[in-house]
Symmetry: C2
Subunit: 123 residues, 2 copies
């Protein structure tokens, strides 16, 4: 019997699928206090600037890109990670090889507990 | 001026250092609702079974090992990740190449906001 607490970053059959934007797809894993989101961005695509009250952390697992946060562009490479306090506007522009990002939300974003499309948040 | 919200998994000068056990060292990054811990375990070393009320998620970034959780041994490889609900006993035994694990706590573990040694938690 599968243990429902164990997952893999690369198993695309797991998680709640959400199309955040054109070329930006995520799989959501909701917990009690934490929500994990494994985001894949195709080369040179971007997630638009948005914000939400939940604290967020991001870890760039693969690829490169530019993290736009609070109006500042931060070039990032695999292994970089960052904290985004609640309500701080942020977005991401993937580099030429795309990007795989682990996003962590706390508290969980209720609107992401079901599949769908879009960032579902304030601009 | 450095932006204090951006870090790197492999920059050992960052974070609050904590020696969890012999061969098990972490660097702690406290947030408001989330605490991130980048744990490095040398080959074949183990973090003892312990528990705490905070929810925890773990991501095996490098290496392999056995995640012991709620009395069950789960062999894991890089890319695997897991949720550990609050108060569930857990530990980790690194494989022959060691392991690098990203641990995520929510709420943050107050006892980890300062450097020190040990898991600082119930057995």
């Amino acid at each position: 019997m599968a243990d429902t607490h164990f997952f893999n970053l690369h198993d695309l059959s797991q998680g709640i699928v959400r199309d955040l934007a054109d070329g930006v797809k995520t799989r959501i894993f909701p917990g009690e206090n934490v929500m994990v989101s494994v985001v894949r961005i195709t080369p040179n695509r971007a997630g638009q600037i948005h914000h939400h009250p939940q604290e967020q952390w991001g870890v760039l697992l693969e690829g490169s890109g530019v993290r736009v946060q609070d109006g500042v562009e931060h070039p990032v490479k695999a292994g970089d990670f960052w904290q985004t306090p609640g309500n701080v506007p942020h977005g991401f522009i993937a580099g030429p090889d795309g990007a795989v990002i682990l996003d962590i939300f706390s508290p969980p974003r209720e609107e992401y507990k079901k599949g769908g499309a879009g960032f579902a948040s304030g601009r």
